[in-house]
């Protein structure tokens, strides 16, 4: 079979096929926005748009925290625990010791990176699956935090924190800009830097990467430290929203942290990430949550919907992959 298609159109087509995941995800998000707006005009009220922008910002950073580890083919089940440890440290430093806000926030971020570093070091030194190490460290970190703080809520933290959380730039929260800035930085990291390529290479094929001189162990540790740093950032964003440091932060992060990157086309096996896809995935999660809330479906059914979305998405993705493969095979001779 011969095709008389100009090369430009053909390459546009293959670009479309490559981006089909992102495009279909964007289409689904758009469709949901249309449906929710039609059913409940309050969905696009400036109040709700602000609420969405704030919660999508947090979902994006939580998702990035998992995404960077998925890039190496590992996972990090401890992001919720790391996030809450940072939040409680910052709350404690500000309330009990009156530390200035920037210094306390920096300490929280450093703690997040250190806990992530500890995860990475334990994984590399023991040679054990990151699933087990981070499952255990999640319990260790959260348990340690509860022992030290006795589950106190620090609600005497400076007012600036809460007023930053309430700040509005038009319809959006400045938190969203922070999340997008982190996204832009990650995009540059994975596309244009040697470290980013090394991370992806270690995820795609650790042995080949090692043989071609990539320090896979060091990359693993760096990625986990980065994941811890991002988890701490997400925790601190939640803290500005709550206006207090609470020991319950991070408890429900596991599902959304995997949902967004997987919906966005990041492979669990490693070697591929999609920063834009992760942002869209997080937007989808937030949209569903906000939409169900505004339709008063009730928080109780939310979990069911998110689970079903994840199932349908991975299955669709699977069949799209098979379809693309088959088309590719037909064309190749």
């Amino acid at each position: 079979m011969t095709r008389s298609v100009p090369a430009g159109v053909e390459s546009f087509r293959s670009w479309l096929l490559e981006q089909s995941n992102l495009l279909s995800l964007a289409a689904i998000v758009g469709l949901l926005w249309a449906v929710f707006t039609a059913l409940a005009p309050g969905f696009v009220s400036s109040f709700n748009l602000f609420a969405i922008s704030r919660s999508v910002a947090i979902d994006i950073v939580i998702a990035f925290s998992t995404m960077v580890v998925l890039a190496t083919g590992g996972m990090n089940l401890a992001i919720g625990s790391i996030g809450v440890c940072s939040v409680m440290l910052v709350g404690y430093l500000m309330q009990a010791h009156g530390l200035p806000v920037p210094l306390a926030l920096a300490a929280g971020l450093v703690l997040g990176a250190l806990l992530g570093f500890a995860n990475g070091a334990a994984i590399v030194l023991s040679g054990v699956n990151s699933f087990i190490i981070t499952l255990a460290s999640a319990s260790l970190f959260a348990g340690g935090m509860l022992i030290l703080t006795k589950a106190t809520i620090y609600n005497g933290i400076p007012r600036e924190i809460a007023s930053f959380g309430r700040m509005r730039w038009g319809f959006v929260s400045p938190l969203l800009l922070i999340a997008l800035a982190i996204g832009a930085w990650l995009l540059v990291l994975f596309r244009y830097t040697a470290l980013g390529r090394e991370i992806l290479a270690s995820g795609a094929n650790p042995r080949a990467a090692e043989l071609s001189g990539v320090p896979v162990g060091r990359v693993t540790v760096i990625v986990h430290a980065l994941s811890g740093l991002l988890a701490a950032s997400a925790g601190l964003m939640v803290m500005t929203w709550l206006g207090a440091a609470m020991p319950s932060v991070g408890q429900d992060w596991l599902l959304p942290s995997f949902l967004a990157p997987v919906l966005g086309g990041t492979l669990l096996a490693g070697g591929m990430v999609s920063v834009v896809g992760t942002v869209l995935g997080a937007l989808l999660v937030t949209t569903i949550r906000s939409g169900l809330l505004i339709l008063q479906v009730g928080n109780f059914w939310l979990q069911l919907f998110l689970g079903l979305v994840l199932l349908v998405a991975v299955m669709l993705d699977r069949y799209r992959g098979l379809y693309a493969e088959r088309r590719g095979l037909e064309r190749s001779p």
């Binding site: 499952l135 255990a136 348990g143 022992i147 979990q303 199932l311 991975v314 699977r318």
Partner: protein
């Protein structure tokens, strides 16, 4: 020296030593430890944890994992409680229904994993959310309290220090031990977990074995849930919410390799004994309950480190 090395090579020797040390320390530390009532309390909390650990052990054995054990358990718990309280089902029928829901949930996990070829982690993360969502949507977090007296009595009655509740887990343990050691499907399960390619080349139906392991895992989650309802005397929607870490802790402390093919009913049971001892010790020492969570994490890391050390020893020896 050789004896020490031999002992170290046995997975359960470190466990056995830890349990002995724990028993000695606890009985010296607290006179309340060896009382009949405290032994009863410990044996009673042993029951649910043991079956939860077995549920995870089976999926680990076939080289998979199951994040949905707790959520499925919660769903079974409220289903069993709900049909007994609201629909007046007899106990036997309610239990059978619960077991069917558990096996059905496990079957769904298995089929989805095998048919889509997607990592079992993601599949069971998603189904866990679905199961927990149905549970919360139906109950709105309100438990079922009015259960048949005979059912509740089964959860509290005892013969000296031995609770009646201990009978089902012991039967399950014996059946599992026999199943894994002596039956064809049991050997298939371990073979697929040990080396999927080799198993498939030797004619073992790999996909069917994985589905089977997931189904059994769901069935055991249901058994654990029903035991938990009997133990609590009410069907709480929160049953299973804290099973995740324990379900992995026991088989891993018992030496199950996450890559599959290597599980032991005896070692997993010993690990559960150790976990229950620690929990009980914390209560007797009146320490913050948060220490249990902390120590569980530390214990998993220690077990993993010990396994690593053993592997290095085996290589150099």
């Amino acid at each position: 020296m050789t004896v020490a090395r031999h002992l170290m090579a046995k997975e359960w020797s470190a466990l056995g030593a830890s349990i002995l040390a724990g028993l000695v320390v606890l009985s010296l530390m607290s006179p309340a430890f060896l009382t009949e009532f405290n032994l009863y309390v410990m044996l009673r909390s042993f029951c649910v944890v043991l079956v939860v650990a077995f549920a995870q052990m089976l999926t680990l054995g076939v080289g998979q994992l199951n994040l949905s054990i707790g959520a499925l358990g919660g769903l079974v718990a409220i289903a069993v409680g709900g049909v007994m309280e609201k629909l007046g089902f007899p106990i036997g029928l309610a239990v059978v229904l619960g077991l069917l829901i558990g096996a059905g949930g496990g079957l769904a996990n298995g089929l989805l994993t095998v048919r889509t070829g997607i990592n079992g982690f993601i599949i069971t993360l998603a189904t866990a959310s679905v199961f927990a969502g149905i549970n919360l949507g139906v109950t709105r977090s309100i438990p079922f309290y009015n259960l048949p007296p005979a059912f509740v009595a089964f959860g509290t009655e005892r013969f000296f220090a031995v609770p009646y509740l201990l009978a089902p887990p012991l039967v399950v343990a014996a059946a599992l031990g026999f199943f894994l050691a002596r039956t064809v499907p049991g050997r298939y399960l371990l073979a697929v977990g040990g080396n999927p390619q080799a198993a498939e080349l030797s004619g073992i139906p790999r996909d069917r074995t994985i589905v089977f392991a997931h189904t059994l895992s769901g069935l055991l989650a249901a058994v654990a849930a029903i035991l938990a309802v009997a133990q609590l005397g009410s069907a709480q929607p929160t049953i299973g919410a804290d099973w995740l870490i324990i379900s992995f802790a026991a088989p891993i402390i018992g030496g199950a390799a996450l890559t599959g093919g290597h599980i032991s009913v005896a070692a997993t049971s010993l690990a559960v004994v150790l976990i229950v001892l620690i929990q009980n010790g914390m209560v007797l020492a009146k320490v913050d309950p948060y220490w249990v969570q902390f120590l569980l994490g530390a214990l998993i890391l220690a077990a993993v480190g010990l396994n690593r050390l053993r592997a290095v020893h085996a290589e150099t020896a």
